[in-house]
Amino acid sequence: MVAVPRVAAYAQPMSDDFDPKTFLTRAPESHHSTRLGIGYRAHGRDWCELSLPYDPDLAADAESGVLSSGPIISLMDMAAGCAVFIRSGPKKPHATLDLRVDYLRPSKIGQEVIGRAECYRVTRRIAFVRGTAHDGDPDDPVAHIAGTFMYTDVD
């Protein structure tokens, strides 16, 4: 349902600030993002940038080696979830409500994909996110996303 845990043991219970770098680095082996190799790159007040290294095991077909769309959704869901945590704090648990991905073009074979998502608006119950993914040139994106997350601790 959601890319990122609630206030998990490996989040930062001591602080009101959410640190995506610590969050990603301390994610357990079992976390889906660890299996995909998703890593931290950068973040700001309402955005987070993560990376997905190229892996032939993530291909949509073995012959071409072109990356499947599924791992790109996982990357963007994860980046967007982190952006929501950064904006709202680690104590506000949330779940993905919906996520739309437009695939502008296939990513280049062998290239790492970088996903950046921003949480541009929050209401009492809902956080709105948008973002892009690229494979080297941010001006030539491979995907655009838009989605919403629901806070799960609000009646």
Binding site: M1, A9, H32, A62, S74
Partner: protein
């Protein structure tokens, strides 16, 4: 029916059939976990997409048809995915010459309680 792609193997997806239609089965595995106690939304989305691709390939009569490229996908999450087997199937709502519209559903123990759905618009590259 074409073989499943490497990404499906990484997830652990198995291709089955029900009433002659493709049915994807994803047994629980520890690498599918997102927040503690629940499946990762990205893995669920990946499964839905694979179900969509399997349905369109089936509708086109196998692996020798046109190349299928995703244009976009919209995933709606209804329930947290528990750490048990997940199933997914899809329906081709329209099969055009250039574009196909597909709707995919994922559920766990109870087919009546969907955990997520996806709407996929796919481009058919007939060369």
């Amino acid at each position: 029916m074409a073989e499943l792609p490497p990404y499906a193997k990484l997830l652990g997806v198995r291709l089955d059939h029900e009433h002659g239609q493709p049915l994807l089965v994803l047994p629980h595995a520890s690498h599918l976990i997102g927040r503690p106690g629940f499946m990762h939304g990205g893995a669920i989305a990946g499964l839905l997409e694979l179900a969509g691709f399997a349905a369109i390939r089936h509708a086109l009569g196998g692996s020798d048809g046109p190349r299928i490229k995703p244009i976009n996908v919209t995933v709606d999450y209804m329930r947290g995915g528990r750490l048990i087997e997940t199933r997914a199937a899809a329906r081709v709502t329209r099969l055009g010459r250039r574009v196909a519209n597909v709707e995919a559903e994922a559920w766990q123990e109870d087919r009546g309680k969907l955990i997520a759905t996806a709407k996929l618009n796919l481009m058919l590259d007939r060369g």
